[in-house]
Assembly symmetry: C2
Homo-oligomer: 282 residues x 2
Amino acid sequence: MLPDPDPAAVFDSASAVERLGDGRYAATVQPGWDIGGNANGGYLLAIAGRAMADAVGRPPLSVTAHYLAPAPAGDCTVEVDVVRAGRRMATAGASLRMADGREIIRVLGTFADQQPEDGTSGGGAVLVDGAPPVLPPYEDCQPPTDPVSPAAGPMPALTHRLAVRMRPGDDGFRAGRPTGRAEMAGWFAFRDAAPVDAIGLLLVADAFAPPVFNTELPVAWVPTLELTVHVRGVPAPGPLACVFRSRFVQGGLVEEDGEIWDATGRLVCQSRQLSLTPRGAA
Amino acid sequence: MLPDPDPAAVFDSASAVERLGDGRYAATVQPGWDIGGNANGGYLLAIAGRAMADAVGRPPLSVTAHYLAPAPAGDCTVEVDVVRAGRRMATAGASLRMADGREIIRVLGTFADQQPEDGTSGGGAVLVDGAPPVLPPYEDCQPPTDPVSPAAGPMPALTHRLAVRMRPGDDGFRAGRPTGRAEMAGWFAFRDAAPVDAIGLLLVADAFAPPVFNTELPVAWVPTLELTVHVRGVPAPGPLACVFRSRFVQGGLVEEDGEIWDATGRLVCQSRQLSLTPRGAA
């Protein structure tokens, strides 16, 4: 993982926000963080979440985004509305609009500091009914490969911004060999090996291909309606073990549940999104 | 299940809203829908969700509430902000405040009509990786019983408003006999056997005791920070089979995942909430 010379390819720069005052922030939806020309939903949430975190002075704990319109690359504005600023937690809403005024996402979130040791090693009640996905070491997993099946479409540009490594087999859908199980697992890392903080987790929660692509279901694309991310800890350095599953596809909708575990085997994030399952091509 | 003579005990009346114009609604947080004097979180979400649904002319599909302050019984106002009204879906935000101006919850949601046949019997892609909890028939399950253990505290008033029946054993924690597993299951029904619609599901999603009460963890109460409800179908008539599980308690926080299935065995709701796990007594 070598540093990328292009700042727009580095997550912290690509999701940077500039404070304009009165809760308003300027940002730029950078090219290359997209799927077929539309910015990734987790990337958009990270931009909004960074503005909200700045406004309330704390990192995200639980944030929910509702997606209103697809976003091409370009300048945007985030308007943050601080709902409550308490002693330990703060709640805020936000709206991200492109320069032409079109609203892209509406966000609601609660923000709070968490300590690195606040995980299973922290004080108080602890229950862990689960484990990280079983993955070969990062070095033994493969990056997503360009599809050999024309039906799979081009590789999303986002893939080239990251250093994701897929669990063997989970990437076979790109070559027309889905696993048959609505699950995607693998390692997440930035290309410059930068540590993933709570803002980064908002991106990670939406950085893998939809689990339904590993089934034979006639689903061509999966536009997100809603994404909720709960930050459950501060990740230790190193790649993150991620697993995303879909259990219920019905009525034209699918949910996707994610778990993100750090290199020490501690859960650091839970995510859930609700998406449409149109038959047609994107 | 006999009709209750008190209108305030009937869910539709207890969660009614009166349109004031300009997106504002008047409502009353009724006594008796509370836990220890503070209104149940699902009940509050149902009041706000009903106002939002009225404002956009569609029932809820995915709603998220962030809880800001406990609510005693009393008059309140819901202010709805319609973010987008599309052909099939609408997105809105809302704020519920007591008459003294104190903000209780902030809500963000997307609203859409779903057809009764939109479930597994509907057209398009279908995947169901799960099943309703295994429960004895409604008539063979017991209502929550008043605690014999003083440590369990009084029975929440909310319990008396509903006709919930617990899976045998899952209610034993009230007598000092937790199952040892962070799970609560049972049947949900209204006392007047009224059908449960999408607004009712917002209540059901928070109507059972916290699953951690079935563990030996030193958790005395579980105030909700955030609750997200995805409506996955229109319930058929009859009691709903519900199961709630907590898998991760760490850093002073616990998530709780719910599944609600109708009498025909179809999933009609998924919920997730993030709550605090304080040691102290409520």
